[in-house]
Each structure stands twice: as C-alpha cells, then as structure tokens.
Symmetry: C2
Subunit: 346 residues, 2 copies
C-alpha cells in the first residue's frame, strides 16, 4: 500500500457493491465541539417487569411471552411488512409503485434482560445462531419470500427501542437494494473465476495481515479495505458457504466464538456497551441455485472518538459520497490490539 | 394512486437514482420507548466570543475572521479534501484505491450568530445564494475540479459542530456516488425526450397537487414521490436550469423566497429549530455540456414524531433498503397546512 495514501485523501473500491468511498485519514485530528451521546446504561436487572421482551410479560400487541429459556422469536407487533398484501402495480407518468409483502420477526437472544452477545456463553450464542438458521430456512421457504434479512440494532443511538438483547428478521418478496448490488458483483466474479470473490478476498487479507482482527479454524473477522463506518468490521467464513443454513455443527460453534470475540473487542474499545447495527447478507431464497454466494456478517458501529462521540453520516455523505476519517488499517490495528476478555470481567 | 397503497406496504421508484424505497404507512402507529433528542437551543446571542465562525474571532487554524457583514467563506481548517494530492492509483489483487483531490470550504450565512435561514430576510438569503453561485463558479472552473457539492448540516443531531448559521462546499476531482447515479438517469431521459426529467416531473406534480408544499413564479417545493426521510422535501426550478450560476436576478430572489418559506414550514412543524442536511445537486463542472441537468435542492430531516423523536436509518435500512413510516402524501399535507409565519413571531 502506497505510504502516500495513508496520510492523504483517497478513494477505495468496495468490491462487493462497486461503490467508491472517500478516506480522509488526517481529518480525525479536528477538534469536536459537536453533539455527544449519553453513555449506555450497562447495569440492568435480569428481569424487568416493564420490558415487553422479557419472558411471561405482556407484549405491545396484547399477547404474553412464554416463559422462554432459549432464544425466542415472534412476529413483530408493528411489522413494516405484511404478508397478505395484494399484488399490484401502479404507474402514472413518472410515478412508479408496486405492492410489497413480507414478514417481520423479533428474535430475543436470551431470557436474561441484562446480557448482550459479548456477555453470553458460546453455547448460548450458538443457540441464537440456531434460531437464525431456523428463521432463514422457514421464512425463506415460504411462497413469495425471496429474501431474508437478519439484523440487530444495538444501543439506543442505533434506534434500538428496547435494551433487552434482541435482533430482527425482515423477510420479503423483493430483493432489497443493498443485496441486489452485491448479487451482481458476486455473480460476475463467480462466472469469471468459478470461485467466490470473498473466498479469494479472505485469503488475500490473511496473507497481507493488515486488517485482520480475529481468526479461528473456520472464520475471520476483519476491517474490510473499503469500510465506511469508523470501526466497521466483517465476519466471514473461510470456505464459501451460501447461507447460515449450511453451517456444520463445528462451524456453528466457530461462528459463535468469533461473534463473541468480536463483540468483546468492541465493548473494550471505549469501555462501553458498544452500539452498532449488524446484518447478515446471504443467498436470496428465490429457489434458484446461488453458487456465487458467500455469506458474511457486517457491523456498522457509529462511534468514532469515544463512548460518547460518533461519526455523523450527514451532508456530504448523504448528498455526495460515503466518507471516513481514519483508515481501515488504523481501525484494525486498534481493534486487534485490544484484550480478548471483557472489560467488565477484569 | 391506488387507495390500497395508502395503507399497505409498497415500494416506490426514485426516478433520479433508479432505486426503490419501501413505504410502510401503517407503521408510525407503534409506540416509541427509544431514544429522544435534546431540543435545540434557540436563543443564542448575536455574537459569541467562543464561536470560531463569528466575525473577528480566531479560527481553529489560528487565523482571524474579518469583520464580515455579508455571507463569508473560507477554506475549511480541517478539510477532508486536499488540493495538492499527487495523482496515484493502487491495485493489488482485490484491493483498489486511487488518490482524490479537492477543496473544502465553509460558508457563513450571516455575521449574526443567532439566526438561521428561516429567520433571515429575503435579501440576506439572496446574498447567501450569490455566494453559493460564486463558489460553484470559482471552484468549478479550477483545473481538476469536476464536481462542487454545496450543503448544510443544521442542528447538532445532524453532526453540526457549531450553531453559527453556516454551510459547506466540498469540491473534488471525481464525481461522487450520489450524483453519478443521477447523471445516468438524467442523460437517459434527455436523450429520449429532449426534456429534463425534472421539468416533466414538476409539471406532473403541479397537475396532481398531492405533494406540493409551496410554489412561486419560478420554483416549487414538494415532497418527492420517492422521499425516504419522513419530511424530506425538494426545491426545484420550473424551467430546466443546469446550475445555480445560470439563475436570473429575479429567479434568485424567487429561490430565496421559497427557501425561506420552506424552512419556516419546517420550524413550524414541531415548533423547533428544525434539523436537516440540505444539498444542491447540479451539473458537474467537468467542462462538458450538460443539457440534461436540472438543479434541485433536497432537504433530509431526521425528525419523525416530534422535536425530540427522530427516524433511525439503521439495521434494515443499512443492510437492505431505505424505508419510511409515513407516506409522502401525508408528509406533504402536514407541511402544506402549516402557517407561513415563523412560530417565534406569533
Ligand atoms: O465538517 P464538520 O461540520 O466538522 O462535520 C460534519 O459534516 C461533515 C460533512 O458532511 C461530516 O463528514 C461530519 O461527520 C460531520 O460531523
Ligand atoms: O423495529 P424497531 O426496533 O422499532 O425500529 C428500529 O429498527 C427499524 C429497522 O432497522 C428501523 O426502521 C427503525 O427506524 C428503528 O427505530
């Protein structure tokens, strides 16, 4: 990597979307008099009577949660997607619309209100992955569901409305925008090389060893070369696995291990319950073969300088181009060097 | 517009980018226990000794501002883009990067620390537009500057680090992502119809009169059919004008009037100094003819329910698809019905 680039503005290509991002390494030096966030509250009770996600409590929709002991999922009481929408198209001059249908579910990671992924045991995280697998398979095999998006919004700064450890699944008819971008690129590479682009990418990253944070037998956690968010990371399997439904039992445990390891690093970065949105991109469930797919999980965390100062993706970023203030290498080095034991346990 | 769509999830096409957005009209009914923002402080002194944008004060870079009386611009002391970057390309396996060069400027709208656009006079706003014109022309005619992005981040919730009324200009070599998307679509339509797509669109909107907020002789303010942010709006000239440098003196005043009118509506919506990022998209400055271009200014405001509850573009929106919780028509109706006098003056 040219040394010039490390200190000067440059653009990097996201090979999965074909989009360039602007890197301004020198810019994080500027003083900050802007907005600061409240630090996340970390000592919560194990059970909260007022929480609509805790076992046995009443939900917003009026139903009661069972006394669940393992990860538990249900249809969102305020789903953005509905399953019984009539198929319709609307076209009037320059206005184009069409109906969309789907299902939104909530996935509680644990009955324990007080925990988060980095504080859960490997076997408890493995149970979460098992439930994700079940949702991906069940929703994905429903008629008219061509895509299943699993994600987590963690922390109120990421729009999470309840601190009970949980994520969501939105399954729908149409392939969403961000996934559609990737499909084209993955297909292209597969057709030319009969290999997944991420299989080759992960090998190159392991060889270079400049952006790797964690590695185990089956998985790697790294800061992608084209990361946009300050401490954006990606967890991906070394071998090409199209979706989480195809993980072996051993791989599932490896996945849980690296998930725990990565989220511990995150919490240790600013000694806070680290906020992020995480999402798993995997093969569409449109009934077609997807030899090009290589699933991966990305983390988009907003914090930049401390537990209370985040990066704002606003004016320039909204109207022009994604932009970051530190390099991927700087972020990776910082994350890699952090202890692997959660700060609250030392 | 099919009545079904008004209450059911559907997708709408952004004709300027080719991207679909998900609309979930019923979803705003859900209760909100999530994050609330601090209300913006609105009574500021006209001059603040601690403000590095006020006249005569010392800036972060060590220089002193002149005792300016009209809108004033200067090179950002912490520019994300630098102008003397060597032209370089880097390619290594699946890693692609290249140098980027440009200039970042700050535009103070007024010497008065206490005002915002909706509180300024038409003639003072016209002066701001004149400075934008000057920046667009001067920066745009510099060698190696092919795009000039004018924008404003207003409010600390939009990452604005100083409440002094100001915006920014980032000018650069490469055409940024969001603009590149639009260029393709504008060109396409121009080649097929010898008219700008926005000329036809604005006529259709005026005829339908479902999303119009304000109109004067030369300009229209509306909620675009494909709006993403809850109260997103667009100000556009009725005739095809490629960039603000081409405005007649009368049009410039019309533009100032609609800018003031629109930002007053915004402040009146939740009786607060309404936060947003605003940006002007106009013809690239690459020296080529751009008959397809029709400049427009968009506002992306984060607030959804009140002065303190915003829409979070997080998990699903980051990993899958832009999504909104009210329809463009609902937003337009609300905005159109608001008084045209600023709430602080009544
Ligand atoms: O340049 P400022 O005001 O310091 O910074 C603000 O605007 C920039 C351009 O949209 C963003 O990159 C920053 O994240 C934001 O905080
Ligand atoms: O579904 P929730 O948790 O109420 O809402 C949160 O996640 C959704 C999906 O990313 C977003 O659309 C909302 O803006 C956010 O507040």
């Amino acid at each position: 990597m040219s040394k010039e680039f490390n200190n000067n503005p440059h653009r990097r290509l996201n090979i999965l979307t074909g989009e360039w991002i602007l890197v301004s390494p020198h810019r994080n030096k500027r003083p900050w008099q802007g907005k600061t966030e409240k630090q996340a509250v970390t000592d919560r009770p194990q059970y909260d009577l007022a929480c609509y996600l805790c076992p046995t409590n009443e939900r917003m929709g009026g139903e009661n949660n069972p006394d669940y002991k393992k990860p538990y999922s249900f249809v969102n009481d305020f789903s953005a997607l509905l399953n019984d929408v009539k198929d319709e198209k609307y076209e009037n001059g320059l206005l184009y619309a069409e109906s969309e249908s789907g299902i939104c579910k909530v996935v509680c990671f644990s009955p324990d209100h007080s925990v988060t992924l980095p504080l859960m045991s490997i076997s408890a995280i493995t149970d979460v992955i098992s439930l994700w697998q079940k949702e991906y398979k069940e929703l994905g095999s429903m008629k008219g569901i061509n895509h299943v998006q699993i994600f987590e919004n963690k922390g109120d700064v990421m729009g999470c409305s309840n601190p009970h450890p949980h994520g969501q699944v939105w399954a729908q008819k149409n392939i969403p925008l961000e996934v559609a971008k990737k499909i084209d690129r993955l297909k292209d590479y597969w057709e030319k090389n009969q290999k997944s682009i991420l299989e080759d990418y992960v090998q190159q990253e392991l060889k270079l060893d400049e952006r790797i944070i964690l590695e185990n037998e089956h998985f790697v956690a790294l800061v992608p070369y084209w990361a946009v968010w300050p401490y954006e990371t990606m967890i991906l399997p070394k071998r090409k696995i199209a979706h989480i439904g195809l993980l072996t039992e051993k791989e599932k445990v490896s996945y849980a291990e690296i998930l725990k390891g990565m989220t511990i690093k995150y919490d240790n970065l600013f000694k806070t319950s680290f906020p992020y949105s995480a999402g798993i991109h995997q093969a569409p469930t449109d009934g077609e073969e997807h030899p090009e797919w290589h699933f991966h999980m990305s983390f988009y965390p907003p914090l930049l300088r401390s537990a209370t100062v985040k990066k704002f993706m606003v004016g320039y970023e909204m109207f022009a181009n994604p932009q970051r203030d530190i390099t991927a290498e700087q972020a990776a080095e910082t994350l890699a060097s952090l202890p692997s034991i959660h700060y609250s346990k030392t």
